[in-house]
């Protein structure tokens, strides 16, 4: 299944989402809520983004499994 925009294969998008979700989840768990550095981050929002990426990955996996099972 090749997407028109961006020109990516569905498998590439699934892998990308998997890597992004893992990185975001680890960062969200390890990052401090506040600190003395310049690049402070909102931990709550980061956790939301990580959850969203993880959910998207699971949805894409469900689509992938459904496609295989239906023999499409």
């Amino acid at each position: 299944m090749q997407l028109i925009f961006p020109p990516l294969d569905f498998n590439e998008v699934v892998i990308f989402l998997a890597i992004a979700a893992i990185m975001l989840l680890i960062t969200a768990e390890l990052s401090p809520s506040y600190g003395s550095g310049y690049a402070t981050i909102d931990k709550k929002k980061l956790q939301n983004a990580a959850t969203a990426a993880g959910t998207l990955f699971l949805v894409s996996m469900a689509i992938k499994i459904a496609t295989i099972m239906l023999g499409m």
Partner: protein
């Protein structure tokens, strides 16, 4: 603490990343290149995530500043009204039991007081005898008292039972690693106490006390006051803030505390 200049810089950097991602993605679509599509998509994705998770303000510090401001304004008002211009002397009530009788204060709530003498230059006298009545100056609760109490609780014992070596070793760990209030802090106790603080998130709070010049000069800002409270109990002698200099370029504050020889009551 994110100041306005840094905040704008971070925003510009993130928007540049997003624009770069869009350009690479458009390029990949035009030339139908999966390689560039993946790179462009990744850059765009992380740019959007960064834009989403970067806070525009630090609500924790804003809340802290709001809570500290009225107490400092009150001290400023008292100093101005009584026209007292001397440097504040931090006194541990554990070392000056007479203070308890004079003010009927609780040792648990106010174990350190700051005395501002009325008589000019009395702080320069090497032998200082604390007053046990309300004449001769003002006794105030230091602005850093609450922070000092939290630090003392984390130490697990009264600062009067902490050795100077423990103090210089453990307090920086507490402020940098546990509370994350400062990036780096060095404490040196010799004849005087020298404290060098780098990148404190309380800088903003201290700069706000610049609007209250008497309090800032005579008693010190929040962190300066909390360290003075702790130091006076550790050394067991009255402490004064001799100087406090701030370098905005390196975000470094250098504080010089003087140790006075007291005659115990």
């Amino acid at each position: 603490m994110i100041d306005q200049k840094t905040s704008i810089g971070v925003k510009v950097a993130i928007l540049s990343v997003i624009i770069l991602g869009i350009v690479i993605l458009a390029y990949s679509t035009y030339f139908i290149s999966s390689f560039f599509a993946m790179i462009g998509f990744s850059i765009l994705f992380w740019g959007v995530i960064l834009l989403y998770v970067t806070p525009t303000n630090n609500s924790f510090i804003e809340l802290l500043n709001t809570m500290v401001a009225p107490s400092i304004a009150n001290i400023e008002r008292i100093l101005t009204e009584y026209n007292i211009n001397q440097q504040g002397i931090y006194l541990s009530t554990e070392n000056h039991n007479g203070l308890f009788n004079a003010f009927q204060i609780s040792q648990n709530t106010e174990s350190v007081l700051v005395f501002i003498p009325e008589i000019p230059n009395s702080m320069q006298q090497n032998n200082y005898r604390p007053k046990t009545d309300v004449n001769g100056g003002l006794y105030l609760t230091p602005p850093g008292q609450a922070l000092f109490k939290v630090l003392e609780q984390r130490f697990g014992k009264s600062f009067s039972k902490v050795s100077q070596q423990q103090f210089t070793h453990k307090l920086p760990i507490l402020l940098t690693k546990e509370f994350k209030l400062v990036e780096n802090i060095e404490i040196e106790i010799k004849e005087n106490i020298t404290v060098t603080i780098t990148k404190s998130i309380l800088d903003q709070s201290c700069q706000e006390t610049n609007n209250q010049p008497k309090t800032n000069k005579q008693i010190g800002c929040l962190l300066t006051s909390a360290i003075a409270c702790a130091a006076t109990k550790v050394v067991g002698k009255p402490i004064i803030i001799q100087s406090e200099t701030y370098d905005p370029l390196s975000r470094t504050t250098k504080i010089q505390y003087g140790i006075l020889e007291s005659i115990k009551d």
